[in-house]
């Protein structure tokens, strides 16, 4: 009997296409050995994804003739890495013209929303994604908040309610939106997005005496923003079972490696360890395209 090992890997981590899933399920109906392997592989995947990133020790830079950059976390080096900058949203394939990928379909939800820092914008320059004039206008309007109740203790009481919460004047959120189906990520720029979001969350936590209240994801463009939030949540939940137990921090419709995708960043914790999970799931079929977990 031929066991489809290659497809089993994709089946287990949610990246299999519909025809692949069908073929695997057909095989599983008469292969108890593969059924057992699927169970084992699933539990291994969960265990591996639960591992946190560890802190790296100082690496010796003197071998590279770089005395001026030791220690590696000097303020200048940190600023170079995490300071004001515009990040490339588009995939870096040479065939694409300019910075942005223009997708032919305009019906694709492309706004992104982000939980605001209660202490206000940390940087004057918007970092990710690009702010447009329309977003700036919308930011002054009354905002609709989507409240996601979080239960981090392992239970399953997560509920999602939409509440109209007018923002007090003077506390404009950092919500940013990108318009046009022009956000596209490659594998490499997606990794960078995840790392940047993790740093953002870490920075916000440092500025606040305690964790921000769960939920309160505000949208500058209420309709498009709500759509992105709810669609991202639903699709990621279907693909990974994740959003029932974690706080949604960032949601975006974009392309990942050319595929229309919902991108969600979730903050969760187990015990003392907080993590950021950044996931891209395909709009079509809610398949996991990419899954990154970073320690906070």
């Amino acid at each position: 009997m031929n066991h489809p090992h290659e497809m089993l890997a994709a089946y287990v981590d949610g990246t299999a296409t519909m025809p692949e899933r069908a073929e695997v399920e057909a095989h599983l109906t008469f292969c108890p050995a593969c059924q057992e392997e699927i169970r084992l592989a699933r539990s291994a995947l969960v265990s591996l994804r639960a591992l946190s990133e560890v802190e790296a020790p100082e690496l010796d830079r003197t071998a590279f003739g770089l005395p001026g950059l030791a220690p590696s976390r000097s303020e200048e080096a940190a600023q170079a890495i995490w300071g004001n900058r515009e990040l490339e949203p588009a995939g870096a394939e040479k065939a694409r013209a300019g910075r942005f990928v223009e997708a032919p379909d305009v019906d694709f939800p492309s706004s992104s929303v982000r939980r605001p820092a209660p202490s206000g914008p940390r940087r004057s320059t918007p970092r990710w994604p690009v702010r447009t004039a329309q977003a700036a206008l919308a930011a002054a309007a009354i905002l609709v908040g989507v409240v996601i109740v979080v239960n981090l203790g392992g239970g399953h009481d997560a509920t999602t309610t939409a509440a109209a919460t007018p923002k007090a004047p003077g506390t404009a959120p950092r919500a940013e939106t990108a318009f046009g189906a022009s956000q596209a990520y490659s594998a490499a720029t997606f990794t960078r997005l995840a790392e940047d979001l993790a740093q953002e969350v870490k920075d916000q936590a440092r500025e606040l005496p305690s964790s921000p209240a769960p939920g309160a994801l505000a949208s500058a463009n209420s309709t498009a923003g709500d759509n992105v939030i709810s669609q991202t949540s639903a699709c990621v939940r279907q693909a990974t079972g994740l959003s029932a137990s974690a706080t949604l921090y960032y949601a975006q419709g974009a392309r990942y490696e050319g595929t229309k995708a919902y991108i969600g960043a979730f903050v969760g914790s187990s015990g003392q360890q907080r993590s950021l999970i950044v996931v891209a799931v395909s709009v079509d079929g809610c398949r996991t395209l990419r899954y990154i977990r970073l320690a906070l």
Partner: protein
Amino acid sequence: MTGQGPPSGDNSRAEPTDAQLVEKFRGGDQAAFGTLMSRHERRVYNIAYRMLGRPEDARDAAQDAFLSCFRHLGSFRGDAAFTTWLHRITVNACYDALRKRPPEPAPIDEIPEPAPVRDHADRAVASVDVHRALALVPMEFRGVLVLCDIQGLPYDEVALTLQIPVGTVKSRLHRGRVALARILLGEPPPPAEPSKPAAGDPGTEAATGSRP
């Protein structure tokens, strides 16, 4: 891919991409290598730590990886992303370390892991056990497990990094996951493959990144 990181764009203070830093380094700007190192060292170290198990071995391998990167950056052609190349060098440095190491029991004195994790099926799996179990998984599976399931890299990227076909990535990934799960259940580890390198196991000549 032409490299990651932000473009130069309209904002003159924007941070350079990896590709731009490589060019600056080639143009004589040594400090550009330091920026590259700061940007990627945490990830490089984490790959090595999960592949090798012991912090001191991981540190040595990460150091070796950056040294190799530094020495060969001049000949890096840029037809793969810088990170693909750097990750390849890192994994090679880990394989070199593993080959030199005599077979040993599970490492002790690892970095303390966070409290046991509850996955969404509500089972608790202690992270320290997972880390130890990973050290018992056969070598040829460990690279894909670390790159795919811990680093979250997509199959295509891992295939480029390890210079093996995507199908091989998936097949090793599945078998690696099954092996890890069996180890966590307390079953004896699978028998070691014969000492010849597994198909696609990058040899030391790939440290120069000479193949695209």
